[in-house]
């Protein structure tokens, strides 16, 4: 425990390893906090939005109130689907005047818009999680590199002084092992958080798929009359 936090006498390579690992730790914890907040908000607002969606009969009313649930990915899907639907309806009105029917093509357009919005939302939800995966996999190796380097330097010192007493060997090795410890401290929460977020995102993706299907059903039943 003595001088555990002291960096006096630490070599430049081991010091660089410490700096890198601390950077990884700080950024990964920032991402963990950010994702916790983002996914929690997305979940809670999705639940509220779905309640509102099923209670409200009109799409234009839902669209007007959608800003209240801005963090929900389902709202983004609804906005994209609704705006595409409006464009299709406007186009249909013109085509009906010209005597051309394009019902199947209309649904396909809305479906494509929903798929595109789903992909955008998945990208948004998965943004920065790759950094957590990188931290989880790379930090222990970076720490191990610091340890190996530190032990190399310690053994060089033993060779120079010609003494292999514990007082000479122990401080260098203890300092080197600190690098592995910091690497693990950075990696363990990152891996745990990455797995947790992946699970939560998978659940949200399934909800988005369900919502897209429901939206298309409603469009097909009520708007195109099929």
């Amino acid at each position: 425990m003595t001088d555990m936090l002291s960096l006096a006498g630490t070599g430049p390579v081991v010091l660089a390893v410490f700096v890198i690992l601390i950077f990884f730790s700080v950024v990964s914890w920032a991402i963990i906090f950010f994702k916790l907040f983002q996914i929690h908000k997305a979940n809670s607002e999705s639940v509220r939005f779905m309640d509102f969606f099923w209670k409200t009969k009109r799409f234009d009313t839902i669209a007007a109130q959608a800003d209240r649930f801005a963090s929900s990915p389902l709202v983004m899907l609804f906005n994209e689907g609704y705006s595409e639907l409006k464009q299709v309806m406007d186009g249909d009105a013109k085509q009906e005047q010209a005597g051309v029917s394009t019902d199947l093509g209309d649904i396909e357009n809305v479906s494509r818009a929903l798929r595109r919005a789903t992909n955008q939302e998945i990208n948004r939800l998965e943004k920065y999680t790759t950094f957590l995966a990188t931290t989880g996999s790379a930090s222990p190796f970076i720490g191990l590199f610091g340890t190996v380097w530190g032990i190399m330097v310690a053994f060089e010192g033993i060779g120079r002084t010609g003494s292999a007493s514990l007082a000479v060997v122990a401080p260098g090795i203890s300092e080197a092992l600190r690098a592995t410890a910091i690497g693990l401290i950075a990696a363990i929460p990152a891996v745990m958080a990455y797995n947790h977020f992946q699970h939560k995102i998978r659940v949200l993706v399934k909800e988005m798929d369900s919502f897209s299907t429901e939206f298309l059903n409603i469009v097909q039943r009520n708007i195109t009359g099929k």
Binding site: T161, G162, S165
Partner: protein, 243 residues
């Protein structure tokens, strides 16, 4: 939609700041805990108890008086020996050169064994009684000590502290270094002067000796009678000896 994305990403800056703060707080907490719990090696002191010569509880008690020495020697002499005891030599037949009959010899052996056992019991009882008297005497230090004598017991005490400290700091790079150090300790138990009377020529070793003296200084009590004490010690890789 894009506005919503931008809005959600601004939180990343806030969480980055939060993360940095948490890391700094964790670092400060660790520093604080380290200060709260000082190094264990400064708190734990190993005491060695000499079972033959009872430990001097307070070095200020000084040396035992000559008559007290006699008491101790007597107690040691009468104390039962830990190792296997040799049976007392059987006295040879007085004279005549005639052989003793086997039955008579056997009876003599038995009587001798009984006498030996009785004598051993008496010695054990006397030693125990002597130890009880010393323990229940209520005085610290060796029997008969008045606390006025200064000298060799404090040297032994100091030697023990130096030996403990040197075990923690020892390091050397030459083959068999040894250094002779003269210490002057003031009435408050502080080391006034550390003089290397013989240098080992090994910088690492001498640094270890110096560190051992500094470490020992934190643990030592003032000399008897709070007088200035001077003593010479020899530091070797095998340990510390008095000179």
């Amino acid at each position: 939609m894009h506005a919503l994305h931008r809005r959600s990403d601004t939180w990343l800056g806030v969480t980055l700041l939060l993360s940095a703060t948490v890391h700094v707080a964790a670092f400060v907490c660790m520093l604080w805990l380290q200060q709260l719990n000082p190094a264990l090696d400064q708190l734990q002191t190993t005491y060695y108890v000499d079972v033959v010569n009872l430990p001097v509880v307070a070095p200020q008690a000084g040396n035992p008086l000559p008559e007290a020495n006699a008491t101790v020697e007597e107690a040691v002499a009468t104390a039962p020996q830990a190792g296997p005891q040799k049976p007392p030599a059987t006295p040879l037949p007085a004279s005549g050169g005639g052989k003793v009959p086997p039955s008579e010899d056997h009876g003599f052996q038995e009587r001798m064994a009984k006498l030996t056992a009785k004598a051993a019991e008496q010695r054990q009882a006397a030693a125990l009684e002597s130890l009880r008297a010393k323990i229940s005497g209520g005085k610290t230090g060796m029997p008969g000590a008045t606390g006025s004598q200064s000298g060799s017991d404090y040297t032994a005490y100091l030697h023990s502290r130096l030996k403990d400290a040197f075990r923690e700091t020892i390091s050397y790079q030459s083959a068999a270094p040894f250094a002779v150090v003269r210490l002057t300790i003031d009435g408050d138990g502080r080391i006034l002067l550390t003089r290397f009377e013989r240098s080992s020529g090994d910088k690492l070793f001498e640094s270890a000796v110096q560190r051992a003296i500094t470490l020992a200084e934190q643990r030592i009590v003032p000399p008897p009678g709070r007088t200035t004490y001077e003593g010479t010690f020899v530091f070797k890789p095998q340990g510390v000896t008095q000179q």
